[in-house]
Amino acid sequence: MVNESDVEGIAKLADISISKEELGAFTSRFNDILEYFDILDQVPPGEEGVPDLGNVLREDVVTPSLSQEEATANAGGTEDGFIRAPRVM
């Protein structure tokens, strides 16, 4: 079970602002989701599911990159080929 201060902390880490009014609703939704996991925990472990693959690797071979225009196309702002971002710190 999570409480309202857990949800406040998670919201802060996720950089999302939640109003006092919303806090209760989010807390109960969080707990609903956690309850689903309690249900999933009851499923017995079986042979089925994702095979236990390991070492999925690619060779060190260069593939083409995007152009600067393509790479920055979704940016809110650009300057001399850089992406402009709000200053953090």
């Binding site: 950089d15 999925v56 060190d60 593939t63 995007l66 080929g81």
Partner: protein, 477 residues
């Protein structure tokens, strides 16, 4: 030293691996000097739906390092997400390794301050992606903004974490030098690349809180940052103050550290296993990883095969390129070559900010042959060396030593060539001559110095000394 003031240092070292492509995509890792955001694709830009694909070469390089530093490779390792918000990470998380790193528990041997072998334990090494590069700007509104270049985003890094086994800033520097040369010998790392190595240092005075010092990006910076921190912490202790457990930022330009994060802002990275990558099971690969001759082994071989001193051998093998250079010319005369490369050439290169591969080995080999054959004096040899280096520095063809000697008339003055100069110096300095004849033997040095000046250092001082005193003694009779 007062044992209560014992300094305790542990390092976290991030090194860029020199793979051809990035850690999780095929973008070229050769991004140095490229225009911003030209080595990017949907994966390293963190576009929605893009899936990372792990570079096999980076894994092999990490295993090479693990083997060279005597680490154990667990049966199972995996990647984790380290979540935080900062514009250098387009995904809002960095793919790193957390509780299941690729290798654990190793060591590297260095020399301590007393010259004895010291074992520095390595806690772990793990693979992770480099973030992008930020350029901070100040806007008209003074609030400022950042410019982001994602060319560096997802360049493979290994982070090497040591136990708190280092006891002085000098020792930390020596550890880094040894680590750097080891990585270069393994050919997994290019230490000359800007930003190829970045260090965080944990430092404390025994019995007090530990401070993490971040953002050290040069070898010299490590020593500077640690010295600053030790002084700061000791001063606080002396004044009876408390050392706050905190993260501090090293400001390279000013040589100081500043507090960068208050406690309530302490990051919670919410690590969890990276769902887009399968785990690694690579312990068995370690058997197939072959190691080259490493610095210590090469040092010992140089002493054995070339009969050179431990100090020369250590200097020459500390840098892979210097060691290779030496071996190309050691055949001329192993001891003379060791002296000229370790004691003279490296200093002259450093003075000009040149690297050893900017001068052809054959030129230095020929120079050493001239000295060996007594064709020029050591002093002239230095002059020839400087002339060659200056040409190389100006990107001109490097002249051969014999040509410089011929052109500048630097050939050693032999036998009869002295006589006329000696005679004229004696004639021009009657006071010194009479001083010498009156028993002031120091006057001989002055007269010899005059001849050296006249012959621009081409005379062999030992021979000249003998000849001058014979000449003067003959005057007396």
């Amino acid at each position: 030293m007062d044992t209560d003031q014992q300094v305790i240092i542990g390092l976290e070292i991030h090194c860029q691996l020199n793979t051809k492509t990035k850690l999780f995509c095929g973008c070229s890792a050769e991004f140095q000097g490229a225009p911003p955001n030209t080595h990017c694709c949907p994966i390293c830009l963190g576009l929605p739906g893009a899936m990372p694909r792990l570079n096999k070469q980076a894994v092999i390089y990490a295993l090479k390092v693990a083997k060279a530093l005597n680490l154990e490779v667990p049966e199972y390792s995996e990647f984790s997400r380290k979540n935080y918000f900062y514009p250098d990470l387009p995904k809002a998380y960095q793919i790193s390794q957390y509780d299941k790193p690729i290798a654990e528990k190793g060591y590297l041997e260095i020399e301590n301050d007393e010259g004895h072998t010291k074992v520095v334990r390595i806690t772990r090494i793990h693979l992770e992606e480099d973030p992008g590069r930020l350029v901070h700007k100040t806007g008209r509104d003074r609030a400022g903004y950042s410019l982001v270049d994602y060319n560096r985003s997802s360049i493979p890094l290994i982070e090497i974490v040591t136990e708190p086994d280092l006891r002085s800033p000098k020792e930390a520097r020596r550890f880094l030098n040894k680590l750097r040369s080891t990585l270069e010998y393994l050919e997994v790392f290019d230490g000359e690349r800007e930003g190829a190595i970045r260090v965080d240092a944990n430092i404390s005075i025994k019995g007090h809180n530990r401070v993490e010092c971040k953002n050290i990006s040069s070898y010299k910076g490590v020593e500077k940052a640690l010295n600053f921190e030790i002084t700061r912490q000791r001063n606080l202790i002396r004044r009876g103050q408390y050392i706050t457990r905190e993260t501090r930022h090293f400001m390279e330009g000013r040589g100081i550290t500043t507090s960068s994060r208050s406690k309530e802002e302490e990051n919670d990275y919410r690590y969890f296993p990276e769902p887009d990558l399968r785990p690694l099971r690579v312990r068995s690969w370690l058997d197939g990883v072959e190691l080259p001759e490493l610095p210590d082994a090469r040092r010992d071989r140089f002493m054995r095969d070339y009969g050179i001193s431990v100090n020369h051998a250590r200097t020459l093998t500390g840098d892979l390129k210097v060691a290779d250079f030496y071996e190309q010319i050691a055949g001329v005369d192993p001891n003379l070559a060791a002296t000229w490369v370790a004691d003279i050439l490296l200093g002259e290169l450093n003075y000009r900010s040149m690297k050893i591969d900017e001068i052809p080995a054959i030129n230095i080999g020929d120079l050493i042959a001239l000295i060996r054959d007594d064709a020029i004096t050591d002093k002239s040899g230095v002059e020839v060396l400087r002339t060659m280096l200056d040409h190389c520095l100006n990107k001109e063809d490097c002249p051969m030593p014999a040509d410089i000697v011929a052109e500048a008339g630097l050939g050693k003055v032999k036998g009869g060539e002295f006589d006329a100069v000696i005679a004229s110096v004696v004639e021009a300095n009657p006071q010194a001559v009479s001083d010498y004849l009156a028993g002031k033997k120091g006057a001989l040095n002055f007269l010899v110095g005059q001849v050296m000046k006249e012959t621009r250092g081409r005379a062999d001082p030992k021979v000249l000394n003998a000849q001058m005193s014979t000449y003067l003694d003959a005057l007396e009779e």
